[in-house]
Amino acid sequence: MKNSKKRLARLLCAAMAAAMVLAGCNSSGGNSSSSSAGQGGEEQVLNIYTWADYFPADIVEEFTSTTGIKVNYSTFESNEEMLMKLEAAKGGQYDLILASDYIIETAIQKELVGKLDTQQIPNFQNINPAFQSKYYDPTNEYTVPYAAGIPLIIYNPELVDFEIKGFEDLWNPQLADSIVVMDDARNVIGLTLKSMGYSLNETDEAVLGQAKEKLMALKPNIRALDYSTPYNLMISGETAVGYMFTSQIITALNENPDLKVVYPEEGLGFGIDSCFVPSDAPHKENAYKFLDFILDGERSAHISEETMYINCNSAATPFIKEQALVIPDEMIEGAEFMMNVGEADELYQQIWTEFKMS
């Protein structure tokens, strides 16, 4: 017995030594693989960085099988995380990033975004101009719009006794402990500002102070804050009212068609998620190939049906089978982009912390 224990101890030491050697091998192995790029065109690799499942898995697979380019799909949780990583990598390591409008604006300002070589993206012309020339990329040099979304109110008429028309109705005392909204400072403070007739991007301290007062009164009505899967709460009846993004609204509606969608009468917010190639991307040509690939009309339509976001591609329109959610034109016209608020960001976060702690 004692002998076997001794042997075990020695075995363990040997295993550890092996692990150490392996670690050493690994680091040198990593170096050689990255240095093998360069001669004779690019390495057949594409490093994509975005939210999980935003590029449908079958599209990525199809891309690999047609081009032979291996795709490394890594994911982030929020735009801010993406920017932090991209900054640490000094605009390198990643080849193609898909993120939201306002963060792309910051990334461009920080010179982390490379100009697109549209010559290499023949399908670039397919893009619907309605989604181009926006504030973050007025000359369309940096971005390829991928999907658009509008946050809307959704409610369960079985659980709500009155008709919800806009943001103001969320404060109705009948909705005590029954609302789910995004776990996001800008969106929720934004809806409060909208309900008061102000802009989503308000930076005035006095106005934000008033919004804070009003926001505090909303807390008793909040059942949960959920950024990514609020539709589950609507489907299961855990909450009666929700404020969430377009794709989440459609998911909830697919499961429970009796839910009612509300285009808030105070006006809408609007956002576009776009692809860009970082300034120092190691495999730029592969990134262009991928962009061209997904801008193909039929594929683009397929992507929209998978992700359930609003399509930004004119060539895709004939292929989209069902217009699951048609947003009234007059509402889109008045829709407001959520933009960077600069230093007011901190004030927003401060209000948010107080809201959560109340």
């Binding site: 004692k2 224990k5 001794k6 075990l8 101890a9 020695r10 363990l12 295993a15 550890m16 030594a17 092996a18 692990a19 150490m20 392996l22 670690a23 690994n26 680091s27 990593g30 990255s34 690799v45 490093n47 994509i48 960085y49 939210w51 999980a52 499942d53 898995a57 990525v60 697979e61 490394n72 799909y73 890594s74 994911t75 982030f76 949780e77 995380e81 932090m84 990583k85 900054e87 640490a88 990598a89 000094k90 390591q93 990643y94 080849d95 950024y227 990514s228 899967t229 539709y231 589950n232 489907i235 299961s236 998911t251 499961e255």
Partner: protein, 262 residues
């Protein structure tokens, strides 16, 4: 003690174990659920099919496995050597070193992650397996160090001293007496460290590179987006594998014991 036999202890242990497995049962059950959502919609194997075709998850799994083996192994060496080196001695800076080596599990992971992000960026180290192993080893060390140290403290120093007096070399004392006695604590510490590494999201996020997505990162991201069934299937597979390994190890042990007893 022997006269009255109550089954209270056994009942409590079994009940607690059942409670611990409650959410696991749910996860396993839902891996066969024919919907992405929370309600029950019928039995299906399709999530397993999807899982085995999902190259991203499979790659992430192997990345994580490699990472966990490397970092818990490296940490086991560092932590054990450290704990053994410190035992029974007092020297300048001992307290500081002890404190410092347990710090990684005392501060919020996000701080360590943020610090590493800037640190590696400053040193121009490309983010990837190397940075991951460095970071994970750091937070693995305390689990082994604390465990081994506790077990060394409860060792009877007379054992070692007697052996030394009888002329054994210090090396022999370590391998023949100390090592077998502290081995269980090294093992349990390493296993814990392995599990922590396999499960880490926050630090990994900060130090990972484009080619080394780890499983927890993938899982976190997918769960956040509501893509749970494949993940449930994956957990079921992992759970099954671990159970098979454990059962195998026990069978092997009892077989060996039986052979020895002959």
């Amino acid at each position: 003690m022997r006269k009255k036999r109550t089954f209270l202890p056994e009942t409590y242990v079994v009940l607690m174990l059942l409670l611990m497995y409650l959410p696991i049962f749910v996860v396993v059950a839902y891996s066969f659920n024919d919907t992405k959502l929370f309600h029950w919609a019928g039995f299906t194997f399709s999530w397993y099919q999807k899982l085995f075709h999902n190259q991203t998850i499979i790659n992430a799994f192997f990345n994580s496995l490699k990472l966990a083996v490397l970092s818990s192994g490296l940490a086991a060496i560092l932590g054990t050597m450290g704990a053994v080196g410190m035992a029974g001695r007092t020297f300048f800076g001992k307290g500081a070193l002890e404190g410092l080596s347990t710090v990684p599990i005392m501060i919020p992971e996000i701080i360590l992650g943020m610090a590493y992000l800037s640190f590696f960026s400053l040193l121009q180290v490309p983010f990837g397996m190397l940075t991951l192993v460095a970071a994970h080893t750091t937070f693995c060390v305390p689990y082994i160090f604390i465990n081994v140290k506790a077990s060394l403290q409860s060792l009877d120093p007379a054992l070692g001293e007697a052996a030394l007096d009888l002329g054994a070399s210090r090396r022999r004392v370590f391998f023949d007496i100390t090592a077998p006695l502290i081995f269980p604590s090294i093992l349990s510490g390493s296993l814990l460290a392995f599990a922590m590494s396999m499960d880490d999201v926050v630090i990994s996020f900060f130090v990972t590179g484009p080619e080394t997505a780890t499983l927890p990162l993938q899982v976190y991201s997918m769960l956040k987006m509501g893509v749970t069934p494949e993940i449930n299937a994956l957990c079921t597979v992992m759970l099954g594998t671990v159970f098979l390994l454990v059962a195998g190890a026990r069978l092997f042990q009892s077989a060996r014991k039986a052979k020895k007893g002959r």
